[in-house]
């Protein structure tokens, strides 16, 4: 979805405040939320894609104001409300890698030129907005993995091959691009079309 979470390239957030003296969980509730989310996902409240999508569905002002673990808390509340009503108890999923055996070969190979699709799905997706409808080159071919776009909203895992795609900075940012920079993004096969 075109949401506030899709931050790549945005202006206006100022300088990066890199501190070396920070505490992992400045407030105790943040550590509890971190652990609670891990256990709740492990017990089947939601898969990781649905969890991420629950964060993306937050009102944008809350997304910015609640902080990282505040967003996790908000997502836990959303998912609990949606999925734990009445006597329902989720099934415990198998824990393990999202890599899957695929019954076909990858469509692209190392070095293939590709273009990303220009689609604006309302649901969860892992193609950042700044890389939509852009030309790149396949830089790595990974195993097929659970496809977040369908897994996030209960349409199943429908595994797709995952690629690392290299984009020249200029292709992404035009004339303002910095010289000598390449951005590599991990993208699923459906997002990509072959480029001659």
């Amino acid at each position: 979805m075109n949401g506030i979470h899709d931050m790549g390239g945005m202006h206006g957030f100022g300088a990066v405040d890199r501190r070396s003296d920070e505490v992992l969980f400045p407030e105790a509730w943040q550590g509890r939320v971190c652990a609670l989310a891990g256990y709740a996902m492990g017990a089947g409240l939601a898969n990781i894609d649905a969890f991420r999508h629950a964060i993306e569905r937050m009102p944008p002002d809350r997304y910015l104001s609640d902080g990282y673990y505040g967003r996790w808390l908000y997502a836990l509340e959303t998912l609990a409300r949606e999925r734990l009503a009445g006597d329902t108890t989720p099934e415990r999923p198998e824990i393990g890698s999202v890599a899957r055996e695929a019954d076909r070969e990858p469509r692209f190979a190392l070095g293939d030129p590709v273009r990303t699709w220009n689609r604006h799905p309302q649901g969860h997706t892992r193609l950042p907005g700044y890389a939509r409808d852009r030309r790149g080159v396949i830089a790595d071919v990974h195993p097929a993995c659970v496809y977040p776009d369908t897994n996030a909203d209960g349409r199943g895992e429908s595994p797709e091959y995952l690629y690392t795609v290299a984009f020249e900075s200029r292709e992404l940012w035009g004339e303002e691009a910095e010289a000598g920079a390449t951005v590599y993004i991990d993208l699923f096969e459906p997002y990509l079309e072959a480029l001659e």
């Binding site: 509730w29 509890r32 939320v33 609670l36 009102p59 509340e77 950042p128 700044y130 000598g180 920079a181």
Partner: protein, 198 residues
């Protein structure tokens, strides 16, 4: 904004107690286990693992080759790569050289190599870092004290899926005689994300 009243006007601490009580009541979590996991995050899972991996790679060329080939099996040799991050499909390690500097970000959320670096620092999760790392990495790095020569190529890794990235920083000058333990102490978390040079 819609539906916000459902998330209450109470403090996050109060809301956390409420959601924990519900998850316990539903049998999804046990509070003692939550206590233990928080403890583990705070004390056991951290960038020390990554630092050890880097020191091994600096001192053992064959390990370095295996690490760059496929990160997860290599870190398992050192006893890392447990269930901290079990859904991750691959760990990819990118080596900084004279001519290439690598930088890791996640613009869409805050994906991070938990298995080797623990939980991400606050700045890594900040909108400023997530928005700027892909658009103006050189300027951002310069602001953070790392000036790259114009002929050094910057490679930014936007971890948008279940592949996680760690940077293998360059070994600092004057460390030839040091062993793995001493080298491990030299490696910083931020150098393994790519915002610091050792």
């Amino acid at each position: 904004m819609t539906a916000d009243h459902r998330h209450g006007s109470e403090s996050p601490a109060v809301r956390t107690e409420a959601i924990e009580a519900l998850l316990v009541e539903k049998g999804l979590v046990q509070s003692a286990a939550v206590d233990a996991l928080v403890e583990r995050y705070e004390h056991d899972i951290g960038p020390l693992r990554g630092a050890r991996v880097v020191a091994e790679a600096w001192t053992d060329p064959e390990f370095r080759a295996r690490l760059l080939e496929d990160g997860m099996p290599a870190i398992r040799e050192l006893g890392f790569g447990d269930n901290t991050d079990s859904h991750v499909a691959r760990l990819v390690v990118k080596e900084n050289t004279d001519s290439v500097h690598n930088l890791v970000v996640c613009t869409l959320c805050s994906c991070y190599p938990w298995a080797v670096l623990g939980l991400p620092p606050a700045w890594y999760k900040s909108p400023a870092y997530r928005s700027r790392a892909v658009r103006e990495p050189r300027r951002l790095l310069a602001e953070l004290g790392l000036d790259l020569l114009p002929d050094v190529e910057v490679r930014v890794w936007d971890s948008s899926a279940e592949v996680r990235y760690m940077v293998l920083p360059r070994r600092p000058e004057g460390t030839d005689g040091l062993g793995v333990e001493e080298l491990t102490a030299r490696v910083t978390r931020d150098s393994m994300i790519g915002v610091e040079r050792l």
